[in-house]
């Protein structure tokens, strides 16, 4: 069995080779792709739709489309950017279909269970605040950088924004979120 390239932390490296193997119907390769990109893709979707259950559906759709369309992936295209494009396109289609209405003040995160620790509750609150107070672009940039670890240059490329704008937006968004949490 072919082993995927891994970095020193053991995380699977996304590569054209991995995508080629997914295109060759290698289920293990697909699983590796899914495992390594799941949080980042979810981030992207959630930052747009703000609704976790819808984000979950769209995430599933994203990977199904990835599996079906992977032969259209061109080498040197950067797998993550390609995945993000699919995810974002799905989100915007969903928003346009008006199957649901986004309520700015309502963020439907799951009701926390009783055993949830205080720190987890705080983390959840921070995420809810981010969904509430930040605009779509701010959410995308903050989540892509903070959670997915994307560099600002990559985010600028993915979102088709100037680097300076991304940096400014990121800082203003974090500041806004900080102030919202402190209230």
């Amino acid at each position: 069995m072919i082993e995927n390239s891994k970095n020193k932390q053991g995380a699977i490296l996304l590569s054209d080779d991995l995508m080629r193997r997914v295109a060759e119907k290698d289920d293990k390769a697909f699983e590796d792709l899914y495992v390594s990109t799941r949080p980042a893709v979810y981030c992207m979707i959630l930052s747009i739709v703000k609704n976790p259950s819808i984000a979950e559906d769209l995430m599933q759709d994203t990977y199904m489309i990835v599996k079906k369309s992977v032969e259209n992936y061109e080498p040197q295209q950067k797998p993550m950017a390609w995945l993000y494009t699919i995810a974002r396109n799905l989100c915007y289609m969903e928003l346009r279909s008006k199957r649901y209405t986004l309520l700015d003040e309502e963020v439907l995160l799951e009701v926390p269970c009783e055993e949830e620790q205080e720190s987890q509750a705080l983390d959840r609150m921070v995420l809810e605040k981010a969904m509430q107070v930040l605009d779509e672009q701010g959410r995308e940039i903050v989540l892509l950088h903070v959670v997915s670890g994307m560099k600002f240059r990559e985010i600028a490329t993915t979102l088709h924004q100037p680097l300076g704008s991304v940096l400014s937006k990121y800082n203003r968004s974090l500041k806004k979120l900080q102030k919202a949490i402190e209230r």
Partner: protein, 364 residues
Amino acid sequence: MNRKELKKSLKRAVIMTAPEVFEQGTAPDLTKENMTMQTQKKQNTRSFPKLIVAASILFVFGCSFLASTLVPRVDSIISVDVNPSIQIATRSNDKVLKITAMNEDALRVLDGMDLKNVDLDVATNAILGALLKNGYLSAENPDNTVLISVANKDQAKAEKLEKEMSQSVSGILKENNTHATIFTQKEAVSKELQAFADQHGISLGKADFVMKLLAKDNTLKADELAKMSLKELSALVAEKQIPIADLVNTSDMDDDDDLEDAIEDAIDDKNDAIEDASDIDDDDDDDRLPDDDDDEDDDDDDDDDRVSGATSSKPAPTTAPASSSKPGPVVVQEKPASSRSNVAASSHTQQHVELDDDDDEDDD
């Protein structure tokens, strides 16, 4: 909650809430009913008369090409040293004539790659990719070092190639989020240098660098220096404080985090000053702040439009990246929310958009 704690908290929250939509070990069921995605196939149409013309042109150039290849002539020798030492010999048209692995690590990196007759920048790309893939350069290593040496009888051309190679290597490493210190140097090829390089199994470039270090510090030993990796040589130079400004040109690449912190501070200071001066409520639309007007890329002549490979994006009725004559995923052009009203007028595909950091990061 400070910024660091805030970021960690956000990250934990997303990872905690990110659902598992597939069970481990199972592939998705592609017969899902509500899948509306359509894939488009490439449309390849060819014209027969065009083929004849193309073939004729190829025949003519093919003859010329054949003639030029009968007598290969080395114009430049470029050495790329990390720890693997790789030597690239090119013709006057900067196409690769021969690539030589100067040591075992280099053999492993090259792994039978056939780069003959490819453009130098393509070969550089392939070699850097292989170095990254084999772990000789790594995003996790803050001490990556690359030495690029160019030898050509024409000093002007040597300088030009030196600069191009440095930019090429920088670009590739940046694309791979890899921090590196890149040394470049021009070198004069002599028989002694060639002999030293051959004796120690290192490239001409590294040999030249070693010789120059020996000239600076006669306590150093040639055999030991020749065996050291670039990283070890850099450390030695630093430890012994050997002045090398006259030997090599260094181009430090700041890693993204350092650069980000510096830019973050500058932006914060600017925003604070603006807010203090205009007494704007925090709940107001931040996009009305003057500094944001400076950030938005409304003009076609702005720096971002000088990126390489920028082309128009296409409208995307489908969600799947379409296969078309131009590679790259299809990008939705419609921008649904008002927050996107001030988005840059210029548009790009996601294909290989390289930002010129020197220009863009000065925007703020």
